[in-house]
């Protein structure tokens, strides 16, 4: 059995973003393995622990993405593949870049995050599934293998459902599926020796980013002292009614 986690490296949500020449500049940001993809790495490791086989991490992005692949290897993934690409790529393009590799690996199943923390795309799972001609289960919160199929629970826009799906399939992950483990020191040491195969990607994105801007809405920040809760509540309601006019 082979379990693949598709990952990307993204800025930590807490880190400051800057704009340089109309584009987000990440040079000062802390970059991490996307936390949504981390759930996929964790699930691949658990599946391997339970059913045996191999757990492979496939990363897409610039050279620095290797750090995120190493993090996944330190968590316990067996080997890595890095599709090297600079700049922005839309999900259809990413799926095109990854499809030949995933086909060659012919995994039991593929996991990837429900939403990317940088480009905010939720479509990679669907695009990958289409590229491979397999089903997709999005926003998965439980996953069990049953022979040639998997049983999974996943969220819908309203409610949730249990499905049985023929494998191979793509699953997008999210909170609730598992609690990702931390890389251990021995894990980090071992990860240094694990193989990362580099694959260049020569294609280009269909969607272009023309401009990026940070529009942190300036907030009024009118903070009242609540020592006298009744007076503070009345003043707040007055402000919301008379000034903001929202109630």
């Amino acid at each position: 059995m082979k379990f693949i986690a598709v990952i990307r490296q993204v800025p930590d949500g807490e880190s400051r973003l800057r704009i340089q020449g109309d584009r987000v500049d990440l040079s000062g940001a802390t970059l991490i393995l996307d936390q949504m993809d981390e759930y996929g790495v964790e699930e691949a490791l658990r599946l391997k622990e339970k059913h045996g086989g191999e757990a492979v991490v496939v990363g897409f992005g610039p050279e620095r993405t290797e750090e995120a692949i190493r993090t996944a290897l330190a968590m316990g993934m067996d080997r890595g593949i890095h599709v090297v690409y600079e700049g922005y790529a839309d999900p259809v393009t990413v799926a095109e870049a990854l499809a030949p590799i995933l086909k060659e690996e012919s995994p039991t199943l593929i996991l990837t995050g429900g939403q990317q923390a940088d480009w905010d795309s939720q479509a990679l799972g669907g695009a990958l599934a289409e590229a491979l001609g397999v089903p997709v289960v999005a926003w998965t919160t439980a996953l069990e293998l049953e022979g040639e199929t998997a049983k999974a629970k996943h969220d819908l826009d309203e409610g949730a459902e249990w499905v049985r799906v023929r494998l191979p399939a793509v699953f997008t992950t999210q909170q609730g599926l598992n609690e990702p483990r931390y890389p251990t020191l021995p894990g980090i040491m071992k990860a240094k020796k694990k193989e990362i195969k580099k694959v260049p990607f020569g294609g280009g994105s269909r969607v272009e980013i023309l401009q990026e801007s940070i529009q942190e809405k300036t907030r009024l920040q009118k903070v009242l002292d609540g020592k006298d809760p009744v007076a503070a509540a009345e003043e707040l309601v007055r402000l919301l009614h008379e000034e903001a006019k929202v109630i």
Binding site: V136, D157, E161, V165, Q221, V223, P229, A233
Partner: protein, 313 residues
């Protein structure tokens, strides 16, 4: 043809579908195309209502939702030759349209705030970096575009009597739905609500949410929750606001006992007015709030309910 995916609740088109129609008509005008609709249904669908909005309406009865069936239905309708597909943005649409965009080798513009066509290309604005950055993006045709709810005026019916074309699809059976876990629906839906009252771990117990519900009901709003609260089992996941929960953009967002973590902010930082109640004056949420009270939520919340009642009388 500009194809609109008309999402519905089994009896009526959703408001978000009317927004998608507005966007589709704008693109159609700029590109000199006609607007067709596709109605994908599990059982009853509002065919009569939908055909009043489009010249051609493709209808497919597909049974329970799966991304594969929905994608197949849209691709079948798109066979008539499509320049753009416009759909309401939802978790489900953003999954099955990933399939559709790949199949058509189309540019995919997700969760757009606005969109327009110029020189045969489609432009859009959208958020990125957990809602912190606004992007202007461009794609050549064909394009698949999803419309963020509550961004666009609602389309009026054309008064058309669109031709109804039934789609027949070969069975797609890679995913079998075993069991639906329906969400209990009460009051206004979180994503469409104009007022959202969210409780965080600072509320201390699930019982304290009775007062949150009371305030939300008084303001005609919906209840939200943080992940900490959902993880603790105090509230259902369907109420979670944030990166892994729902994105809301109401006129008024009230955060009670919420610290203001980035992952939470990602789901609500575009609200028009943000109000915070927290006992810690250093809580990050205050930096993102228009109005706030530093105080104990157990004292402030009842006082707020009282003050709102007084205002309404």
């Amino acid at each position: 043809m500009i194809l609109v995916v008309l999402d519905h609740d089994g009896s009526r088109l959703r408001k978000a579908s009317l927004e998608a129609l507005t966007r589709a008509r704008r693109l159609a005008e700029a590109l000199g195309e006609r607007v067709a609709g596709v109605l994908l249904a599990e059982g009853q669908a509002p065919v009569e209502e939908a055909r009043g909005h489009v010249e051609t309406l493709y209808v497919a009865e597909l049974g329970p939702y799966t991304a594969e069936k929905w994608a197949a239905g849209i691709l079948e309708a798109a066979k008539a030759g499509v320049k753009a597909i416009v759909a309401p943005s939802s978790r489900q649409s953003r999954t099955y349209l990933g399939r559709v965009a790949y199949a058509l080798k189309a540019g995919l513009l997700e969760d757009t705030l606005d969109s327009w066509a110029e020189g045969g290309q489609v432009y859009a604005t959208r958020y990125a970096y957990l809602n912190r950055v606004t992007q202007k993006v461009r794609s050549a045709l064909p394009v698949v575009l999803t419309v963020k709810p509550n961004t666009t005026p609602l389309a009026e019916p054309l008064g058309a009597q669109g031709e109804v074309v039934a789609l027949s699809l070969p069975p797609v059976a890679t995913v079998e739905v075993l069991e639906r876990v329906q969400e209990e629906k009460k009051g206004v839906s979180l994503t469409e609500a104009d007022v959202v009252v969210t409780g965080g771990r600072g509320l201390g117990s699930p019982e304290a949410f009775q007062k949150v519900e009371e305030l939300a009901a008084l303001l005609g709003g919906a209840v939200g929750a943080t992940r900490a609260v959902v993880d603790a089992g105090w509230r259902p996941y369907s109420e979670q606001v944030g990166q892994t929960g729902k994105t809301v953009q109401p006129s008024l967002y009230i955060a009670l006992g919420v610290s203001g973590a980035v992952q939470h902010l990602a789901g609500m930082n575009k609200s028009k007015y943000i109000v915070a109640v927290n006992k810690d004056p250093e809580a990050p949420i205050f930096k993102h709030a228009d109005y706030g009270i530093v105080g104990d939520v157990h004292q402030v919340l009842p006082a707020l309910i009282h003050a709102v009642k007084k205002l309404k009388d």
